[in-house]
């Protein structure tokens, strides 16, 4: 188990490194398209004007590309703190209550089991049980749990959930997911703003006489270009969905490997599932980071094409079934009786 586990871990780390780079490149390229596409359309539109009016310096593209690169860099650097800020989490620096002390102990134990430095610990003041991890690598990682999780789970279950999150940290899922959360947030914000601007601005320009200057190709390009501005938010959302489902199974398996107690995670997931209320502190932009879908969507309980396309998390029942399978296999191996 250890050997194939290690192989999967390194593969997963490599995939996450590569995907983060691809994501950032794609993000900058998208900005370049938005900018230079605009320049291109404008230069075509102005092509039959006299030379001094022609659009020769494509500064719009340069500015937007630089902006995109800066946003990507900024998002990568500060993504974790933005995510934590968005959920209203507070850091546990000096544990005061017994529950907090236990949380700190459990996180330290699991960091030892996973062989990673102890992450910083945060509590989200929310009564719904949930947890997430964020950061760029094991040296700069954060684990956050909701107050509801501390109140609901016993020590072993809390340990299993923390181990699941440290699985995400160790295989670098956090890097990809945090970068994505930061970029999705930026794009959604921008897309909303630009959508409003275009809707407002469209009326003005249609009022002015345009004349014969623009050919059909320019119009098609313009429509495509405008669409990509508006679709940016949706594309970003879909990306966030696509990356998060498969890796939950792997993190569950890593939790079982760290705690050697898959049954604890199974029962923790059952408890989390039973508390059906949405985790209101966690917004859709960070949903893919959590151990269970914080939006409490019914989609998550099904399999099939629609759920595969739109749910951020795999079906809970399937995750629990897999973990119980591991638990029974372990009992059989150790020669114990199945309870």
């Amino acid at each position: 188990m250890t050997d194939t586990g290690a192989l999967n871990l390194f593969q997963q780390q490599e995939i996450n490194r590569r995907r983060t780079v691809l994501l950032i490149i794609g993000f900058v390229l998208f900005f370049a398209w938005l900018g230079f596409g605009g320049d291109w359309i404008y230069s075509l539109y102005m092509a039959d004007r006299p030379t001094p009016q022609q659009h020769t310096v494509w500064w719009f593209g340069m500015v937007l590309t630089a902006l995109g690169a800066w946003i990507a860099w900024y998002g990568y650097r500060t993504g974790a703190s933005k995510v934590l800020w968005a959920t209203g989490a507070r850091e546990v620096l000096d544990p005061q209550t017994d529950a907090e002390r236990q949380l700190v102990n459990v996180v330290e134990e699991m960091a030892i089991a996973a062989g990673v430095p102890r992450p910083r610990i945060w509590i989200v003041p929310d009564p719904d049980p949930n947890a997430f991890a964020t950061g760029t690598d094991p040296q700069h990682a954060h684990v956050a749990v909701t107050q509801g999780l501390l109140d609901t789970l016993n020590r072993d279950q809390l340990q299993a959930v923390v181990a699941h999150e440290l699985g995400h940290v160790k295989n670098l899922d956090v890097r990809l997911m945090t970068t994505l959360a930061a970029l999705v947030g930026m794009v959604a914000l921008m897309s909303n703003g630009m959508g409003r601007m275009f809707r407002g601005g469209g009326r003005v320009s249609s009022g002015g006489g345009k004349g014969k200057g623009a050919g059909a190709a320019v119009v098609v390009l313009l429509v495509l270009w405008l669409l990509s501005w508006l679709l940016a938010g949706i594309i970003a959302r879909l990306l966030a969905l696509a990356v998060s489902r498969k890796r939950e199974y792997l993190a569950d398996a890593m939790s079982a490997q760290f705690t050697r107690n898959p049954m604890a995670l199974a029962s923790a997931l059952e408890k989390i599932e039973a508390a059906d209320a949405p985790t209101t502190s966690i917004k859709s932009g960070t949903a893919h980071l959590c151990i269970a879908d914080p939006l409490g969507r019914r989609l998550t309980s099904h399999e099939g094409w629609l759920a595969d396309t739109l749910a951020t998390h795999p079906p809970m029942a399937k995750r629990i079934a897999i973990l119980k399978g591991m638990g029974y296999a372990q009992l059989k191996h150790e020669g114990g009786a199945i309870p």
Binding site: D98, N105, I112, G115, D156
Partner: protein, 194 residues
């Protein structure tokens, strides 16, 4: 076709380098994981005097249990990690300490008014955590050492093992069957079926 052997040679050399570096990195990881156990054992040794002090006044009548813990602790502190069977010696001493501690915890459990005083509950959490840390650091050491051992014995990496001065790492044996159940200390501390 004179370049064909050349390419083969380059491939082989690159593979030897990769395999050698892989073994060295695993060796250091194993060493590091072993040191981690030491760190956690030291933590436990430091915690025990506090625990004993906390229960001493209330437990005049359980002198034997306390003395067993103190003795096992002092024995464990004394054991030196050097020598061929260093791991075996440490694990023996630490296992004795573990069982002495679990006897103490069972005893504490028998006196409800002792448990009711606040800092005993805290100390129990600390001790549970310490026992878990030790168990998990051993687990990490054994996992790392196993993949190191497997790597150096498997073909074709075993051909580079001599070059990388790879020696099979000794696993941390758990002799006490009861200790195999990791949350054993939890069981003694919580009311059943909690």
């Amino acid at each position: 076709m004179f370049w064909l052997p050349l390419i083969l040679l380059v491939v082989v050399v690159l593979w030897v380098i990769a395999a050698y570096n892989g073994l060295v990195s695993l060796k250091n990881q194993t060493f590091n994981a072993f040191k981690q156990i030491d760190v956690q054992l030291k933590r436990r040794h430091d915690l025990i005097p506090n625990l004993v002090n906390a229960v001493k006044g209330a437990m005049d009548f359980e002198k034997g249990t306390l003395e067993a813990v103190i003795q096992a602790r002092n024995q464990a502190v004394k054991v030196n990690a050097q020598g061929a069977d260093g791991v075996k010696q440490i694990s023996q001493a630490e296992n004795q300490l573990s069982s002495a501690l679990s006897r103490l915890l069972v005893t504490v459990e028998r006196y409800p008014d002792l448990k009711a005083t606040g800092n005993i509950g805290q100390l129990q959490e600390e001790l549970t955590s310490t026992e878990n840390r030790i168990a998990f650091s051993r687990q990490l050491y054994n996992d790392t050492a196993t993949s190191y051992n497997t790597k150096q014995q498997q073909f074709p990496t075993n051909m580079v093992a001599g070059l990388a001065k790879a020696q099979p790492a000794e696993l941390w044996e758990i002799t006490d069957q009861a200790e195999r159940a990791v949350p054993q200390v939890d069981l003694s501390m919580k009311p059943p079926a909690a």
